[in-house]
Amino acid sequence: MSRITQRFARLAADKRAGLVAYISAGDPDPATSYQILKGLPDAGADLIELGMPFTDPMADGPSIQLAGQRALKAGITVDATFDMVRRFRREASDRDTPILLMGYYNLVYQRGAARFCSQAADAGVDGFILVDLPPEEADELKPHALAHGLDTVLLTAPTTDDKRLPAVLKYSSGFVYFVSVLGITGTKSASEDAVAAHVARIRRHTALPVGVGFGIKTPEQAAAVARHADAAVVGSAIVDRVKAGLDADGKVRPALVPGVLDYVRSLAKGVRSVRKA
């Protein structure tokens, strides 16, 4: 059983939903980024999405675009991202916290899917969320991910209708990620009713846990998602806290890491305030 599957099993046993926290690897610099990553389990993150910065993040809004630019400017690479995960597995308080790499397919393709999967698994990565790899093209990655025990979390959207859902689910493992709004990351927020309806619809097709993301900015919104889904995913609002911790020259202020982790703590509190039946 993968670390992701184990984690969702434990969340179910604890009768609560999980918090998936996203940060961009290397933002604002590799050292500070690692301090945030390492602190996430204690701050209440149940799973971690580690963004792989890309020059052309077509599905991301301004927050994650800027985070990626900060990280690339500070020299983040795929190897350095693997190293962050490797170190996390040695040093974090909860070393079993699943880590998914999130990003765009070209970085995987350039290394070769087989080699990328082998190196990721070796570093302690648990799975992928690749924004621009829909089921139509997922055959390129899936066999290599399977061979190395990595989960592939595919996205579903409000436009993914009942006819199409089985095609998405065929390639999904670990959990299903529901993109709750039409749009890019960190912009619009979905209503609780809409989230409830879509999650119920997805559950009719799969027994996989359902995570919901895009547009969750407050502990209250995280709690609202937790009432219906198995996990709430927060990204842009967290990387906005990274930006808030920089001074006018882009230098890291001492309060940056505690500020980010305090915010994650508040989101975790929101998610954990909901008791599941």
């Binding site: 890309f54 020059t55 052309d56 993040p57 077509m58 599905a59 991301d60 809004g61 675009q65 690339l72 690479t77 795929v78 765009y104 397919y105 070209n106 970085l107 393709y109 350039q110 290394r111 924004v131 621009d132 790899l133 829909p134 089921p135 139509e136 093209e137 595919l154 996205l155 579903t156 959207a157 409000p158 436009t159 993914t160 209708d161 199409r164 998405v168 993109v179 709004v181 039409l182 749009g183 890019i184 912009t187 619009k188």
Partner: protein
């Protein structure tokens, strides 16, 4: 090296792949919409009412067929092949872009879409889209890199006069690639009502094939015009390539004519050896961006690097996937011309033929000035003069100190 197919004109397969290239690498939100577009396009192209309306507009609104013009003075000057120009710069709006836009906007209307978005580099596709949207009374938003907004100012004014909203994009290198990112971001939020009118033979399937089909009117006309003028097919075809839509439109109808030599000219910027260029096929390698796998300018990790060209329309780090396929098959030769060579060709055409070309086809012409003198006098060479230079005169004047 891929093995040669029975025909070079059969691509793409049902999944939108041209060999290794093409495909549909887009966010899930867009996938159902792209499948819907593919279905709607397949139905439209089989519907005589649709094709009839498009032909009517191409004839009476855009001014097709564009002339095939024998450039006698240039031919004498170069002293080799007989040089013909396909005069697509004479189309309404001043370039070949209108061929594709009329098709796509008609399709948008047929699909019941109520808003059209487009990306533009030089502004020619933006102007064409703004024009068709004015004609069909559909709101239009054009994304344009902030650098291009400055260097192609006349086209920005034209788009605004036609009623389009121009949104300058400051992200990244603030050129065509970034405009496309921003258009895709808009589309993912508005896809239920908005039609994305892509200007070149790139993007996710079905765009590369659809835009090619709409642009094939260029090559189809050249076939019959050359038969009329010379009683036979041309020997050599030359066109410039950014994304590659004017080139594909000229080339595709001739791909299976083995005797026709076909040459695509990429933008060499300051020289391919300097690293500051936009020649994806010459200086790049296969990767995935903007919905398709194709040759891209990128670093070792797969981060996209910035393209450089004096021509805003060629300033793109990728190329249409069918061109990548044709390169691997060896059916089309791909070369490059530098900024300086294009500027010289630009001036040459002004003085010899009284035609002010856009900087994009000036790259094709730069190669013609090298190639034509090496060919025999009975070699029939056709270059696609795909855009006029009105938009470039101020930028060129500044560069030349006029």
């Amino acid at each position: 090296m891929a093995t040669s197919p029975n025909s070079f004109r059969i691509g793409p397969d049902e999944r939108g792949h041209f060999g290794l290239f093409g495909g549909r690498y887009v966010a899930e939100t867009l996938m159902p919409l792209i499948l819907e577009l593919e279905k709607a396009y397949n139905e439209a192209k089989a519907d005589e009412q649709f094709t009839g309306e498009l032909t009517y507009l191409l004839t009476h609104y855009a001014g097709r067929p564009s002339p095939l013009y024998f450039a006698e003075r240039l031919t004498r000057h170069l002293g080799g092949a007989k040089v013909y120009f396909k005069r697509d710069e004479l189309n309404h709006t001043g370039s070949h872009k209108i061929n594709n836009v009329l098709g796509q906007v008609l399709l948008a209307k047929r699909m019941g879409k109520t808003r059209v978005i487009a990306e533009t580099g030089a502004g020619q596709h933006g102007v064409a889209t703004a024009t068709a949207c004015a004609l069909f009374d559909i709101p239009c938003v054009v994304f344009m890199g902030a650098v291009d907004v400055d260097r192609q100012a006349p086209n920005v004014v034209r788009m605004k006069m036609l009623g389009a909203e121009v949104r300058p994009v400051t992200a990244g290198s603030a050129t065509l690639k970034d405009a496309m990112n921003e258009a895709l971001r808009d589309w993912v939020a508005t896809c239920e009502t908005t039609f994305y009118c892509i200007g070149t033979v790139a993007g996710p399937h079905p765009y590369p094939a659809m835009v090619r089909d709409f642009q094939c009117v260029i090559g189809n006309e050249v076939r019959s015009q050359m038969m009329e003028a010379e009683g036979r097919l041309p020997d050599t075809l030359v066109a410039c390539i950014g994304g590659g839509s004017n080139a594909m439109g000229l080339f595709h109808p001739f791909l299976d004519d083995a005797g026709v030599r076909i040459v695509g000219v990429e933008a060499g910027g300051k020289g391919v050896e300097t690293g500051e260029h936009a020649a994806s096929l010459t200086g790049g390698r296969p990767g995935v961006l903007h919905g398709n796998r194709t040759y891209l300018l990128q670093d070792g990790e797969g981060q996209i690097t910035e393209a450089h060209s004096i021509s805003a329309g060629l300033d793109y780090p990728g190329i249409g996937p069918e061109h990548s396929w044709l390169k691997e098959l060896g059916r089309v030769e791909y070369v490059s011309a530098t900024d300086e060579e294009a500027l010289e060709a630009f001036q040459l055409l002004c003085r010899l033929e009284g035609i002010i070309p856009a900087l994009e086809p000036a790259h094709a012409l730069a190669h013609v000035t090298k190639l034509a003198p090496t060919l025999p006098r009975d070699n029939l060479l056709v270059m696609n003069l795909c855009g006029r230079g009105d938009k470039d005169v101020f930028a060129v004047a500044e560069r030349l100190g006029i």
